[in-house]
């Protein structure tokens, strides 16, 4: 177990290292820090002095080392636009994004398991055909179109739900203010979460269905029937547990995709999260903020993937953790 953990952490560190290199390269090539500091009027000589002072003429490795040292201490530079530490800007936006992801995740988990299991158990029922039919339409509609469609229907035509922003939020702790404590907050988060879930949900329903159908064909399920076990227990204990193992792995990968889709959803709904912020930062060429976003998102990816791998190792008894590390 310990060796596996070390190995996994090492891999995570390697990925973070690559991300930091890319980030540094971006910082190095994108935008001129002097422009932000002094403006145009300063002479070339003073500029050079300033460069020396700021260490911009140091060798690459020295500069990278400094960048890395600062990054580890949480200093990712100051946003040109917000005039605030980039990390602070992101941390303020992070809760909005995480709540959106949480909302979508609840929808996905809450619906995909029962629907996936149902369509696997009763593959020929009308209900299953309907679910499968809708799900293939679901994976064919891009997230931003679902979002636009919902805004058109529920905000423009029916005027039931708001089309942008977070609405009333309640401060919880630190930078975290939540949507989940007011009715207005719930109304605002509903459409964006559904939109974010819209492409992942059918994907998971289909995945769970096909895995479940395969499991139901297995010898141990037949044996469970031969022992006189009730179908309910066979479906939800014998089959579902084996079904969810591969689903966990795929789920881990999909978390990354979901972060990408937050950029789309947040753009359509003008949700004040870090995805929306990232696109704005790109348009303003706010380099420190772009770099900070990259590092934070990379960090989220690495952490979630590591956690998913560990969960898989813990849930699946046939995977010896020592062997998984190999």
């Amino acid at each position: 177990m310990f060796a596996y953990l070390v190995k996994r952490l090492f891999q995570a560190a390697a990925v973070m290292f690559v991300i930091s290199l890319i980030s540094f390269a971006i910082q190095d090539n994108l935008g001129d820090p002097l422009r932000e500091l002094v403006g145009q009027s300063v002479s070339e000589e003073t500029r050079d002095e300033l460069r020396d002072e700021l260490g911009l003429n140091d060798p690459f490795l020295v500069q990278y080392g400094r960048f890395l040292g600062n990054a580890v201490r949480g200093d990712l530079g100051t946003s040109y636009f917000f005039k605030e530490p980039a990390l602070t800007v992101i941390l303020k936006k992070l809760p909005a994004t995480l709540e959106l992801v949480a909302g979508a995740t609840i929808i996905i988990i809450g619906l995909s398991i029962p629907l996936g299991v149902y369509t696997a158990i009763k593959p020929n029922s009308i209900m299953s055909r309907l679910i499968m039919g809708i799900s293939i339409v679901g994976i064919s509609v891009p997230v931003f179109l679902t979002a636009i469609g919902m805004i058109f229907l529920f905000s423009v035509e029916l005027r039931w739900l708001p089309s942008f922003g977070r609405g009333d939020t309640v401060d919880v702790i630190g930078y975290w203010s939540t949507n989940f404590l007011t009715l207005d907050g719930w109304q605002h988060i509903l459409l964006p979460s559904v939109a974010l879930a819209s492409i992942m949900l059918p994907l998971f329903i289909r995945l769970i269905r096909s895995e479940m159908m395969e499991t139901l064909q297995s010898e141990y399920v037949r044996y469970a029937y031969a022992k006189g076990i009730a179908p309910r227990r066979i479906w939800f204990v014998h089959a579902l547990k084996n079904t969810l193992l591969p689903v966990i792995t795929v789920g881990g990968v999909q978390i990354g995709t979901m972060v990408a889709y937050t950029i789309l959803t947040e753009t359509v709904f003008q949700w004040p999260g870090m995805g929306f912020m990232f696109l704005e930062a790109v348009n303003r060429v706010d380099t420190p903020l772009i770099v900070a976003y990259l590092i934070v998102v990379g960090f989220i990816f690495v952490v979630t993937n590591t956690i998913v791998d560990l969960i898989y190792g813990l849930v699946n008894p046939t995977v010896k953790l020592s062997r998984m590390g190999a």
Binding site: Q11, V15, I26, N29, L30, I136, V137, I139, S140, V141, P142, V143, F144, L145, I148, G149, I151, F152, V156, S163, P246, T249, V250, G252, V253, Q254, G256, T257, V259, A260, Y261, I263, L264, T267, V268, F278, L279, V282, V285, I290, L294, V297, F301, N305
Partner: protein, 315 residues
Amino acid sequence: MNSLSDPHMEPSRLSKAWNSNMAYSFRKNPVAVVSLIIFAVIFFMTLFAPLIAPFDPYDPRSFDIMLSEIPPAWSDGGEAQFIFGTDDQGRDLWSAILYGTRISIFIGLAAVALQAVLGITMGLIAGYVGGRVDSILMRVADIQLSFSTLMVAIIFLAITQAVFGSETFNQYAIYMLVAVIGIAEWPQYARTVRATVLAEKKKEYVDAARVMGFGPLRIMVRHILPNSVSPIFVISTVQVANAIISEASLSFLGLGMPVSQPSLGSLISSGFDYIFSGSWWITTIPGVVLVVLVLVINLLGDWLRDVLNPKLYKG
């Protein structure tokens, strides 16, 4: 010897294909038939877009700002010459959609071709060489898969756009989209091909080929690759659908095709601002075309998966 004069003795290739298992299951499946017909119609219409389109959507002289936001011909205030109405710049939407779909399909197919070439090569190398090369390639594939394509593409394109400025970016946008979608998704193919190689490598005929002195390249391409044809086929269909969605999403974010040369995604994006003011068609019609296009490809992919039923790499 004289097969031409006696068609009853020697069935033609065409009729053989018609009577094959695959064709049989195709004819039995109305969804697949309709999907293929719709796809073919869309494909050929966009292929001949320059002949069909009444206006040239790339030529700013052909549209008149005075004629902007005209609704489709069938609704109030519509004009017969603009079947689907005009967009915010007075561009004929029907022509723009024809050209836009053309770009979307081109990017989808080209990106998937790139994925396939990269992935198959990597998969063959990993599976055949094995050992260290294999484990490094597969680890890289794992890591790459854990970062979603869309995420990588958004970041890459956003940064190139910021570095080079939108002018230069717009000029090369189409190639950049193909490259970034193509490169990001190779692991899908690599894993499947590698799995086939590993399974086939153990079989006798591969040993036999080796004993007969055939080089590894020939063995891989002539003997092993044909066994991965059906999974590659199934993956490719789904991948084309995904690539088209990715392209549309990127263009929607302003990181893809520019408005002067719009794909379906950019058209939808340009119309989004007008949805609140009632000009629904600028977004909705390209949106419907996009969904139908992706849907029929996905339906064909589903049918192929059912018929060929290949062992796909999971996880």
